[in-house]
């Protein structure tokens, strides 16, 4: 079994992570380096399409079994329940208002697909494979956390402003947001076209994948670095710490679920990563609509400025090492 330390070092000096670091450093130095919004969005479309498609092909190759259903269920439960833990922790250790705490909690039940993508490439590099259906699990974990958080707000004392409920328009925006549709859609395309389909577009979605991920993480580093530079002051000490501790709680829950279901080492790692990661695209948008009085400078800075870098650099290798130890494997 490889040591956690060597895994962490291998991860940290990969081009992918160093590109992220470059972005953070450039932002901290206040360089004017930016990736145009359209290009960043184009790269994220590419990454989602590629990862969904490859997951679908893997399912086409290996067939579907009860594990798929169980893991989907586990994912939904993790997404729905983790916000309660997050909320309880935040209300205990910090002075965040009920609404701010609930909004933050929603982010931690939900997931970061980029962290997921980065984890798959670490797993690949470690010579492991994960269940192809994990991308479908990722897609189902975006929404439940939002409902939990809104429920947490609605049982609190009556508020005058805002809505704190999911109207049909918001429901559609959450369930059919672009990332979910693209991820599930390309997963289905991969599952339908299988190995033949992959052969046709392999040199587009497989070979350049790592390189695109580098440039995408460069941009993420710039964005996270700027967020952190500007808004760090909005995070109190305990809230800041929460950003690095909550992932560990999530990952532990993910590991437990993975053990119960009997996922492979790679699959368990990915479930840990999903549980440990926090949203910074879909959930913030939903919070602006449903909880406008919650402060983005708190939930966004925490999720993107603290938890994302933590998972990317230290979290992923740690989760992989734990998954290896638990599954006694590889």
């Amino acid at each position: 079994m490889e040591s956690i330390f060597s895994l962490a070092v291998t991860n940290l000096i990969s081009p992918v992570i160093l590109s992220f670091v470059l972005g953070v450093v450039a932002a901290a130095a206040r360089s004017d380096l930016t990736v145009p919004e359209a290009v960043a969005k184009g790269m994220s479309i590419y990454l989602l399409f590629a990862i969904g498609f490859k997951g679908g092909v893997a399912v086409a190759n290996n067939g579907v079994d009860a594990q798929l259903v169980l893991t989907l269920l586990a994912g939904i439960l993790l997404s729905a329940l983790l916000p309660f833990i997050a909320f309880a922790v935040l209300r205990t250790v910090s002075s965040l208002t009920r609404v701010d705490a609930a909004a933050v909690a929603a982010h931690y039940g939900s997931i970061s697909i980029v962290t997921f993508v980065a984890a798959t490439s670490v797993i690949d590099a470690a010579g492991l494979a994960a269940e192809g259906f994990m991308v479908a699990v990722a897609a189902t974990m975006e929404a439940p956390a939002i409902l939990s958080a809104l429920w947490l707000v609605s049982v609190g004392p009556k508020r005058s402003p805002g809505e704190a409920r999911v109207d049909p328009m918001l429901a559609r925006e959450i369930l059919l947001n672009g990332s979910i549709v693209l991820l599930l859609g390309s997963f289905l395309i991969g599952a339908i076209t299988g190995a033949d389909g992959l052969a046709k577009i392999e040199s587009f979605i497989v070979s350049p994948f790592q390189g695109v991920l580098c440039l995408f993480l460069l941009d993420m580093g710039l964005v996270a670095g700027r967020g952190l530079t500007e808004s760090r002051g909005n995070l109190s000490g305990p809230v800041f710490l929460f950003g690095a501790l909550m992932p560990l709680i999530g990952a532990s829950a993910g590991a437990a679920a993975g053990l119960l279901i009997g996922l492979s080492t790679g699959g368990m790692t990915l479930l840990m990563v999903l549980a440990a990661s926090s949203s910074y695209i879909a959930v913030p948008a939903a919070m602006r609509v449903a909880l406008p009085e919650a402060r983005p400078s708190i939930y966004l800075t925490l999720s993107l400025g603290v938890t994302f870098p933590f998972n990317l650099t230290l979290g992923i290798p740690l989760y992989l090492a734990v998954a290896m130890a638990l599954s006694g494997g590889a």
Binding site: M169, V223, R226, E230, P284, E293, P296, S297, L300
Partner: protein
Amino acid sequence: METYSAKRVAIIIEQVMQSRLLDALDSAGVKGYSVLPVLGGSGRSGQWLRDGQVTRGTGMVQVICVVRPEQLEALQDAAFAHIEHHMGIVTISDVEVLRSARTSSN
């Protein structure tokens, strides 16, 4: 050239609220508007910039409606619910609208 007097309402609002606002305008009978991009800004809730900022994807847009003065009240009522608790600013000014062959037939 013939012109008529109208009100120009400029609503700078969060992008996530755009479709809700436009639906509300529609229901209030406001059928003419344009949506313009906003690159960044500053207000009571701090600074933001579209390119390479933490809030990217949660930026703002500017919705411009040119309405006849008698429609202004309805527009404000319709928009208000969506603006009230959200970031942004609404300004109203007087303009003259040029009558084209097409406009006057309206």
